[in-house]
């Protein structure tokens, strides 16, 4: 969770959660829930502050004054293209968290027959505010407040909105962070999948929904695991790599590990992710099962070696630092960060089958993609659909490249595209 710019916002660091419903959503209900949430939780109205020029950025709520609700806007869309453009605009209209709330809501009214567009809620946030699971938690809290009008909607059990401070001594956390950096120094020099040089640009995305083939019937849990999906995406990226006719040097990519305890929402805001750094050669991706097995073994070794725990401590030091600073810390990578991004946000919560009185028909995320490597492939599932989102910085890959990525993943996963 680094910041893309230290001074002015030069590139959007927005992430979005898109929730498609079976009917129009009343923005008043969303506004009311946000107003009520602010009584319990200041984060949606916070600003990003740096106490000293050399200090670490942190979130600060309005000191004692009234907390200003993040904006909730409404507009109509008539076609699927307009719907896509509206989401695209949300992604690219950068939030400046120093001067405005770190999140905003857009409610889209579509024609009743517009696929996925009868009523759409678009939650947009400055990505270091929370991760995709945190955005789902936030929506969960808002929907809870919509359903419970009492003054004490949670009774005595108000949710924990942020992760508690690490109780371990600073010296111990420092030791773990150093261990993580030392581990990262053993990783290979990084090549992004695109040869494009340069930084900021317009963010683009493509979202496609799939269903499982009836005959597949989940015979292998393995195919649902992150190592399998990274291997499949690796195969798609290998094809991009081959176009450049470059040597078979290793890919490096971060795999997010959600540290929230399972079975409960867990924290909403701040960082609750640690990272494992997966690496493999493009040629390894020719055999997906074999690569998936190797990635699983890498992850197991990282857990055995305590590297996930160490990275968690390192993230506490690295988060809210400028990307340039993070790159300096990762100087052995040759100035690059990762080859590409890939994540699985897993299942949209069953408890969110209805939002603000409407049935949810699909939901997907478009996480932020840093200017380098400038491309990410993301999975999630909702209402028996598997969603695939490719997000990229304009110019990093072509539309044809994206089509090939989607097609490779579809083919390898054995999915059927929905209408």
């Amino acid at each position: 969770m680094a910041l893309h710019s230290t001074g002015k916002v030069v590139s959007s660091s927005n992430a979005v959660l898109v929730v498609q419903c079976d009917g129009a959503i009343d923005p008043e209900r969303v506004s009311r829930s946000l107003d009520r949430l602010l009584r319990f939780c200041p984060w949606p109205a916070a600003r990003l502050r740096r106490p000293f020029p050399w200090g670490k950025l942190h979130w600060a709520a309005n000191g004692g004054g009234a907390r200003r609700r993040p904006p909730v806007r409404r507009r109509a869309v008539a076609t699927a293209e307009e719907l896509h453009q509206a989401i695209d605009a949300e992604l690219n209209t950068a939030i400046d968290p120093r001067r405005e709330p770190p999140l905003r809501v857009l409610v889209l009214d579509g024609a009743p027959d517009l696929v996925g567009g009868a009523g759409v809620l678009v939650l947009t946030w400055f990505h270091p505010l929370m991760d995709p699971r945190g955005a789902q938690n936030l929506l969960h809290h808002l929907v809870h407040l919509d359903r419970h009008a009492s003054e004490a909607p949670w009774g005595d059990a108000v949710p924990v909105f942020v992760r508690g401070a690490d109780p371990r001594p600073f010296k111990e956390r420092g030791r773990l962070a150093r261990k993580s950096l030392e581990y990262m120094r053993t990783l290979p020099r990084v090549q992004p999948v695109s040869s494009r040089k340069g930084g900021a640009g317009r963010v683009r995305f493509r979202q496609v929904s799939f269903t499982e083939r009836a005959s597949a019937a989940k015979p292998w849990r393995n195919t649902q695991e992150i190592w399998w999906r990274v291997a499949v995406v690796g195969k798609a990226m290998r094809r991009l790599w081959e176009q450049q006719s470059v040597p078979d040097v290793p890919f490096l990519l971060p795999i997010a590990v959600d540290l929230r305890p399972k079975g409960d929402l867990g924290p909403t805001f701040g960082n609750t992710l640690a990272f494992h750094f997966a690496r493999f050669k493009p040629s390894d991706a020719a055999d997906v099962p074999r690569l998936a097995s190797a990635l699983r073994a890498q992850l197991a070794d990282a857990v055995r070696g305590g590297h996930i725990e160490a990275n968690d401590a390192a993230m506490d030091f690295l988060q809210y630092r400028p990307l340039a600073m993070v790159r300096r810390a990762l100087r052995w990578t040759g100035g690059e960060t990762f080859s590409f991004n890939c994540a699985d946000v897993t299942d949209f919560p069953a408890a969110l089958d209805r939002c603000f009185g409407r049935r949810v028909v699909n939901a997907f995320h478009v996480p932020a993609v840093p200017p380098r490597p400038g491309i990410g492939v993301f999975f999630n599932r909702c209402a028996a659909r598997s969603n695939l989102v490719v997000a990229w910085i304009e110019g990093v890959v072509t539309d044809n490249d994206v089509t090939r990525i989607v097609e490779t993943v579809r083919e390898e996963m054995g999915w059927i595209e929905t209408s």
Partner: protein
């Protein structure tokens, strides 16, 4: 014969209990305990959490679960995994 089945059942229950205790202590949120027959996926046990379970199996029962055995049937619940572990131990 019935004694053998009975002792196998007791062993399977013990393994399921050990797996359940591990998951509740290391993976689940406080107050969100799983039971031996609960579905891992429905309880939110994701890839990384499942990996921790497999590492526990390795440490406690002495083998690393091979890829070909990572099927729904073996990983649905603590009891399903216990059944697999006992079956494998019986074969080895």
């Amino acid at each position: 014969m019935s004694t053998g089945n009975s002792s196998a059942g007791i062993e399977q229950d013990a393994v399921a209990s050990a797996l359940t205790a591990f998951v509740n202590a290391n993976i689940m949120a406080r107050g969100r305990s799983v039971q031996p027959d609960d579905d891992f996926e429905l309880m939110g046990v994701d890839s990384m959490a499942m990996l921790k379970v497999l590492l526990f199996v390795e440490a406690e029962f002495g083998f690393w679960m091979p890829d070909e055995d990572l099927v729904e049937e073996n990983l649905t619940s603590p009891r399903a995994l216990a059944h697999y572990i006992c079956r494998r131990r019986g074969l080895s």
